[in-house]
Structure formats: C-alpha cells, structure tokens
C-alpha cells in the first residue's frame, strides 16, 4: 500500500453548521421520540458498560 490514504470528506456545509442531527433533512421527522438524543449517546455499545 501507499504510505497513506486520506478518507474523502463531505464538502457540503450543512445549513446550521453543526454536528447535530439537524444537519439531516429528515431530522425533524426522525426526532419524534424522547429516545433520539439518548440513542445517539448509546449507539454502538456504550450500554455495555456494566452498571
């Protein structure tokens, strides 16, 4: 392999400029329930942290 490969970046600036789910056009519809912010915290596997 070459010494490095730089992953492509999304060059389109989101409307509000942030990292929030609001970048997504479908955001308002997606965030219908309480769980959304929570889902983003727990996605992948942080819930596996033993209590």
């Amino acid at each position: 392999m070459k010494n490095f490969y730089v992953f492509p970046l999304n060059l389109k600036e989101p409307k509000c400029g942030g990292n929030c789910v609001c970048d997504d056009e479908a955001c308002a519809e997606k965030c219908t329930t309480w769980g959304s912010a929570n889902a983003s915290m727990n996605a992948v596997d942080n819930s596996t942290e033993k209590k």
Binding site: M1, K2, N3, F4, Y5, V6, F7, L9, N10, L11, E13, P14, K15, C16, G17, G18, N19, C20, V21, C22, D23, D24, A26, C27, A28, E29, K30, C31, T32, T33, W34, G35, S36, A37, N38, A39, S40, M41, N42, A43, V44, D45, N46, S47, T48, K50, K51
Partner: protein
C-alpha cells in the same frame, strides 16, 4: 500525543483521526512509526526505526508526512490551538428570527401528560431524576390553536409538520380532531402534514379511519416480539400490550393497506436484556411489520434508577452487536442493503455522522457540538402553552410561550452559555468536530451546567473511538457503501419523508 489526534486500528491497518481538520488517514506501518517518532515523540530512540526499515522506505515515509502536514494540515504543531466555538452567524435577535423563519418546520404539541400505559422504562415513570411524571394535565384547544397559529406564521418552510405527543396523545383525541379541523379551515393554502407518536393501544376503527383520512404519519411504539415487547410495555395492571397492538395494526391494515405500509412507522426502544437478534428477526420476518419503516432507540441510561435491579450479566448486547457487525461486514453489496435495515438503523446515526463530517479550514472557528438553535428547526409546546427546545427538554427552561412567542433573550443566553462551555472544555478534545452533545446533556433542570455536560465527555470519546473503528473497517470492505447509505433511497423501505 497531540491533543487533537486520535490513533486507532482496525484488524488490517493503522489510522489517525485529526480533530482539527476532521481528516481520517490510513497509514503504513513505517509512516505510523515515523509519526510516533517525529510528531508524538513517544519513540525516544529513532534508531529502532532504522533497524526495521530501509533508509529509502523511511525517506519516503518522511515525504508522506510532509504532504500530510502541508497539503492536508494534519499533524500540526503541538502548540496549535483552535480559535474557539461559534455559530455561523452573530447571535442576535434579527439573525435568530431569520434562521427560525427559514428553517422551522416542526411543531410538537404535548397534548397530555397522562398515559394509559405504565412502561417500566418510560422517561416519565418517575425513575428519571430530571423528568416530569405522568399527570392529568391536558392541553385545551385555545392553547393548541395559539401554538398552531404561531407556528404557521413564523415558519416559511414548505414541509411543515405538526406532531401530537404525550403521554399518550390519543387520550386527548378530541383535541387532535379539533386541531386538524381548524388547520383544514384556516390554513388551506399552507402545506403541512400531521404525525402522531402513540403506544398504539387506543386505536379503534374510528381513530384509524381518522388517521387514514388525514394522512397522519403514525409512529407506534413496538419493541419486538411479544416476549420482548411485554417485558416493559405494560398497562396499569402490569399486563403486556403486544397482542392489543397487533390487533390494532391488523385493523389499520385491513382498512387501508397502502396507508398502513406507507404511514405506520415503528419506534423500537432497545432495553435490557438487549436481545437485538431476536428483535431484528421479528422486524424482518413478521408479516405485519416487516414491510414498514422503523426507527431504533435505546432506553435512556442516564440519571435514572431504572437499571438498579438489572443484571448486566444477563444482557445480550455485546454478543448481539458482534453478530450484527459481522453480518454488516458480510453483506455490504448494494443488493443486500435492504436486508440490513435493522443494522443500519442501529449503527446509522453514528456512521452517517462520521461519514458526513465537515471539512474544516485551517484556524477556523468550530460549531458548538451538536446543539440546535433553540426554536430554529422545531419546538415543543407543553400542555400549558410553554415553548421548550424539544420534547426531551419538556422539564427544562422555556424558550417562549403561546402568548409572547419566542423569548429571544433566553435563546441568546442558552446559546452563549453553551458556547462558553465549549470554549472552556472542547478546545482540548480530539472529538471536538464530531461531538454531538447538546442542551439535553447539559440540562440540570434549572439551567445548563458545564459539570452536567462533562459527565458525557468520556462517553462521547469512547463512542466515536468505536465508531471510527467500525467506519474504517466498513470503508476497507466497501468504500462505496457509505455513498449507498447516504443516498437513503437505497434503503428506506417506503416513502418516509
């Protein structure tokens, strides 16, 4: 280690993520060693490198490092500091109004704080310190009318959405009918749609016909097969609700199958013991649900006593995720993408967030994590007519009310205070460009608080550390996978808007 650099590995390669530029770079072994010697400086004796590689290979790695520094601005001087955090516009009333007018597209009406169920994991069950509990508060039409009028007048967005939320909103079905009727008379020329977040147990033929007639998007909570769903989703007598919901789903389907497939969307809440495989199989195999769209959430693990009697040793989350990751990796070709809906839904938000990360120009300012502009795209109105940032913050400071509109001084205060948190903490964090913490995480009911938010910083870094590994692994397997993912037409199962 440079504070903005995060190093990680997949099974095959070494990587660096640069929080300043948002670049992910895969590096050869020799380049990794050179970076450790020259940039991270944790290799004291560079002669070790010269014993491992030929001089020609090492020289080539040094040239590569220079390209990464000069062209891509990665691995900059350890003294480099970002300027700070800001919004893309000055925080003043005029700009906020402009943003709201252009972008606000969702009004959530919390039309009751009562519910006919007593789901054990519910945010409003009394097990969450910061949240309200069920109460007999119901919104009246006067409040709802004022909220709708305000929304219709401030929003120029062409796809307006009015969502009915609770408690269980169907306990206040008369109000829903009144609002729909009012809009149909008063706002004939405006384009809007309705949605409903419901537990699905109260839907009878009358209600179903109404929802169909008015083309409601109908979000119904359904956690999986009966033995999964009924663990937590119970009525006031502690009885499971699965059968009742399935009966009501059959009813809607029998009345209008096209509507059912297009407009009924399931909300899955993953909770202990997190048997994701069983849930995944139910949603891919059950005739009544397999063609519908669903969204996946997990039960809130923060600020709660809900988990006190749960035994993590019984949980199946780790093994489920392992299987799902393997399946995801095995099935990355275009033709299989629809079969991966559950996997995608589970991992999607994180992966898309990483994939769609923005290019940062050198020395630019940074956006304050994942905060929204309060009132900017959506707002929640509680039973008493107070405006909240969203339904997740219905026990938090108001940002307006139906009588006065938005409190711009409050919105400015919240934005500026949150930005001050970022300027204090995030300037030293490699995850600053990915972090999606927001007011929800800084909320201590009375105000936003930096200590409250700090509780989540390590979690965020862990999450993105894992997310980057998964992202890079998927990218190694099929780099076009993410283009397929971001073009949601490829995997959305119906006409979700």
């Amino acid at each position: 280690m440079l504070k903005y650099i995060f190093e990680f590995k997949t099974a095959n390669y070494s990587y660096f993520y640069d929080g300043i530029t948002n670049h992910i770079v895969r590096v050869s072994d020799v380049l990794r060693d050179v970076i450790h010697a020259e940039i991270i400086r944790d290799i004291k004796d560079c002669s070790n490198i010269y014993s491992k590689y030929s001089r020609r290979i090492i020289n080539s790695a040094y040239k590569s490092l220079k390209i990464l520094q000069d062209k891509y601005k990665i691995f900059r001087n350890e003294k480099f500091k970002i300027k700070g955090f800001t919004l893309p516009f000055d925080i003043n009333e005029e700009n906020l109004k402009l943003f709201i007018n252009e972008n606000n597209k969702k009004l959530s009406l919390g039309i009751t704080e009562q519910c006919n169920l007593r789901c054990a994991y519910c945010t409003y069950s009394g097990k969450y310190y910061k949240e309200r509990v069920h109460s007999n508060k119901f919104m009246n039409f006067e409040i709802a009318k004022k909220a709708v009028d305000f929304f219709m007048n401030i929003s120029n967005n062409k796809r307006k959405l009015i969502n009915f939320y609770g408690g269980e909103p169907l306990l206040n079905f008369d109000l829903i009918k009144e609002v729909v009727n009012y809009c149909s008379i008063t706002y004939k020329s405006k384009s809007y749609i309705f949605s409903l977040s419901t537990n699905g147990t109260l839907i009878d033929e009358n209600i179903a016909s109404f929802l169909i007639k008015n083309d409601f998007l109908c979000y119904i909570s359904l956690d999986g097969p009966e033995d999964v769903h009924d663990i937590y989703r119970t009525n006031t007598k502690g009885q499971g609700t699965f059968e009742k919901i399935m009966t009501n789903l059959r009813l809607i389907k029998s009345l209008n199958e096209k509507y059912y497939k297009k407009n009924v969307i399931f909300l899955i809440t993953l909770a202990p013991p997190y048997d994701l495989i069983k849930i995944k199989e139910f949603f891919s195999q059950n005739e009544l649900v397999k063609e519908n769209l669903y969204l996946v959430n997990t039960v809130n693990t923060n600020d709660t006593i809900f988990f006190e009697d749960k035994n993590p040793n019984d949980w199946k989350l780790e093994e489920s995720i392992k299987v799902m990751k393997e399946e995801l990796l095995e099935n990355l070709s275009e033709k299989d993408i629809r079969g991966l809906t559950f996997h995608i839904r589970y991992f999607l938000e994180l992966l898309i967030r990483i994939h769609k990360r923005k290019m940062h120009l050198e020395n630019s300012f940074y956006y304050p994590n994942g905060i929204c502009i309060p009132g900017g795209r959506r707002f929640f109105v509680n039973t008493e007519g107070e405006f909240k940032i969203c339904e997740k913050l219905d026990n938090f400071l108001s940002i307006g009310d139906v009588y006065s509109g938005f409190y711009f001084s409050q919105i400015k205060y919240l934005l500026k205070k949150y930005i001050s948190f970022c300027n204090k903490d995030c300037v030293n964090c490699w995850a600053l460009s990915l972090c999606d913490l927001c007011f929800v995480h800084a909320n201590n009911v009375e105000d936003i608080n930096i200590e409250e938010r700090r509780k989540f910083c390590e979690k965020i870094r862990k999450r993105y550390a894992k997310g980057l590994v998964l992202y890079a692994t998927l990218f190694e397997k099929n780099s076009s996978f993410f283009e397929l993912l971001t073009n949601e037409d490829n995997w959305r199962m119906n006409n979700e808007i």
